[in-house]
């Protein structure tokens, strides 16, 4: 007969089972952790220090902006033995204001005093060598722009708390914060093109003693802005402005009466509607009266010109006649379809609403035809002009890299666009844009010299805004270069004249000759004779 287990024995068996189960559990967990999840424990994210904002890189991956690790320095005044000496030493080591530190150290209300923000590693070393007690270094980040002034207006800056306050830093703020620990934000900017545009624009600004200068290079198919420059600029790595430094981006935040570059749009409309033919002859004369107003030419013109030569020689009278054939309603609708009567919205936060007459009558149609009486931001004009040469489709600029063809609605027929490309080439070979004709590349373009409005109404003679719109290669345009000089002055070489054909046309030519090889634009064979002309 089997003896029944005593209560003690049963308890021991139960205890043994529980113990065995516990050991099995621990063993299973050990096997799980060591064999199956070797990285589960302590797998902290290893990588770059966590930054507030992502890097910005150009289309080729070159760094444009990055948060660098720095520290903010705080002091606990109650731990300092000699507050006067500590304030003096910390001011010397960090550049902080001595009186502010001393006042903070003597103020017993606050347990902490901010000594300095964004200390560089060498400044941190100097502070460490002081051997002062009660100092605390708080990790922080400082936005640094390796290319300094060359990208200042475009990229903008952040405030001390790392929030974008201008330029693409503001326009892409949410995106830069979202991807702070991940991939950089890749812009459409090509740093090589940006530098060439900036350096050539600055050289021309100095040469012609212009108040301001600017330029844009854009891909007409994708709408990518490869470069945008506004001068004067500023050093984004230092918060202090020097001389005539400015953080105002004239290419996006200002509006200009651009003058004769608008004739491109008037001609595009005329060609689209067949209201004028390129070989049609127009009488020019000394002045063209519309009601009580008389339109004059900037330069002497022949008595008659073909429409082609009206554009090539930039005749106001001829263009006014052509624009008036379209009429105010059609002209306004056409400009609206190109986005020139509304605000241009893209990643750049700066924009300027266009100015145009509330009453759009006959005289307004005539003057807007040659670029007076309507003021637009240069970036909006570039967008509209791109539509004229890219096959006639609307394009919105973007500052983010994309490979997609972003051309949108058809605003003019492809045949009209082709006809306009021929006319623009004619302007450069036979008209006011001759100085933009460069060896190896067929450039088409249009000059613009507009008198600036005076502070008390009317226009100031000899106070000009000169610009040049160029597309290349003109038989199948891929890029637009638009440059602008605000109040240039003539030089001895230009005979004292400051017209666009002498100031911005050669500037555009130089820029294209430098950037076209970099952008892989195929060259055309050049003859010795042509090169030497």
């Amino acid at each position: 007969m089997i003896e029944r287990a005593t209560i003690y024995q049963r308890r021991m068996v139960i205890g043994a089972v529980i113990s065995a189960a516990a050991f099995a559990l621990v063993g299973a967990r050990l096997i799980d952790v060591t064999l199956f999840k070797p990285n589960a424990v302590g797998s902290d994210q290893i990588g770059r220090p966590a930054m507030a904002r992502a890097d910005m890189v150009d289309r080729n991956g070159e760094l444009l902006a990055r948060d660098l690790p720095v520290v903010d320095l705080y002091a606990r005044p109650h731990t300092l033995d000699d507050k006067v000496q500590a304030a003096r030493e910390l001011a010397g080591a960090t550049g902080a204001e001595y009186s502010r530190l001393l006042e903070g150290f003597n103020n017993t209300k606050h347990p902490y005093v901010l000594v300095a923000r964004r200390l560089t590693p060498d400044a941190q070393d100097r502070v460490m060598h002081l051997g002062l007690p009660g100092l605390e270094f708080e990790p922080s980040a400082k936005r640094f722009y390796p290319n300094g002034r060359a990208t200042a207006q475009l990229l903008g800056v952040t405030d001390p708390d790392g929030k974008g306050v201008s330029g693409l830093e503001q326009g892409l703020d949410a995106r830069l914060r979202e991807t702070a620990t991940g991939a950089p934000v890749q812009l459409s900017i090509d740093m090589r093109v940006q530098y060439i545009l900036a350096s050539e624009a600055e050289a021309s600004r100095q040469m012609f003693h212009a108040k301001k200068a600017g330029g844009i290079v854009m891909d007409v198919r994708t709408g990518e802005v490869l470069a945008m420059v506004s001068l004067p600029d500023f050093d984004p790595n230092f918060r202090q402005f020097r001389g005539d430094d400015s953080d105002h981006n004239i290419m996006a935040a200002d509006r200009y009466e651009l003058g004769s570059v608008f004739k491109v749009l008037s001609f595009a409309l005329a060609m689209e509607d067949h209201t004028a033919r390129p070989d049609e002859v127009f009488s020019i004369g000394n002045g063209y009266k519309i009601g009580k107003y008389t339109i004059h030419e900037a330069e002497h013109m022949p008595a008659t010109l073909t429409a082609r030569d009206v554009l090539a020689h930039s005749s106001n009278i001829g263009t006014a006649q052509i624009a008036m054939r379209s009429g105010p309603v059609r002209q306004a609708a056409f400009l609206a379809s190109l986005g020139l009567l509304g605000s241009l919205r893209c990643e750049l936060p700066e924009f300027a609403r266009p100015l145009y007459p509330a009453h759009w009558g006959t005289i307004e149609t005539a003057t807007i035809g040659f670029g007076h009486g309507i003021a637009v931001e240069p970036l909006a004009y570039v967008s509209a002009a791109a539509s004229v040469v890219n096959g006639g489709r609307r394009i919105i600029p973007t500052f983010l890299k994309t490979d997609a063809d972003r051309r949108g609605a058809q605003v003019i027929k492809p045949e009209t666009s082709a006809e306009m490309r021929e006319l623009l080439r004619y302007v450069v070979t036979n008209g006011t844009g001759r100085k933009a004709d460069i060896a190896g590349y067929d450039v088409g373009g249009k000059t613009g010299s507009a008198e600036k409005p005076g502070p008390h109404g009317g226009y100031q003679s000899h106070v000009l805004v000169t610009s040049f719109f160029a597309a290349f290669p003109i038989d199948a345009p891929r890029y637009i270069v638009f440059v602008l000089l605000d109040e240039p002055h003539g030089t001895r070489e230009t005979g004292g004249l400051a017209l666009a054909g002498l100031t911005t046309a050669p500037l555009a030519g130089r820029i294209i000759s430098r950037i076209a090889p970099l952008l892989g634009v195929p060259q055309k064979p050049v003859t010795v004779a042509r090169e030497n002309t």
């Binding site: 902290d44 770059r48 760094l63 690790p69 060259q523 064979p525 010795v528």
Partner: protein, 122 residues
């Protein structure tokens, strides 16, 4: 039998405690080392980040152009002097370029005296 089992269980518990303590201690030390290494990696990444930024600054186009003009006497190369490997002629009798396209710039001539970038006030 029960006594042996008890003794065995107690010994097992003791050994387990020692083993677990050993593993726990090793884990603690490893975790400290890991934290130190991670900290070091972050510091190194910070340093690399600074160096990359510094490199971008010193190797930027503005500085390269300035150095090339001042130290090497180089000036801007005319666009017509530039070409690509695809347009180079083949070695041989046919003289055809690599992609069988016409030789570009065969008769191009650079400006006789290109203006150095430095003299243009760049």
């Amino acid at each position: 039998m029960v006594r042996i089992l008890n003794t065995f269980c107690v010994a097992l518990v003791g050994l387990s405690i020692l083993a677990l303590y050993h593993v726990s201690e090793q884990t603690r030390v490893a975790r400290l080392e890991l934290a130190g290494v991670n900290h070091q990696i972050i510091r190194e990444h910070g340093t690399i980040s600074v160096l990359e930024t510094e490199w971008e600054r010193v190797a930027g186009p503005a500085r390269i152009q300035e150095l090339a003009a001042n130290r090497l006497g180089l000036s801007g190369t005319p666009a017509v002097q530039m070409s690509s490997f695809e347009t180079l002629p083949r070695r041989g009798d046919d003289g055809q370029p690599l992609n069988n396209s016409p030789i570009a710039q065969a008769n191009a001539q650079a400006p006789a005296n290109p203006v150095p970038a430095a003299r243009r006030g760049l």
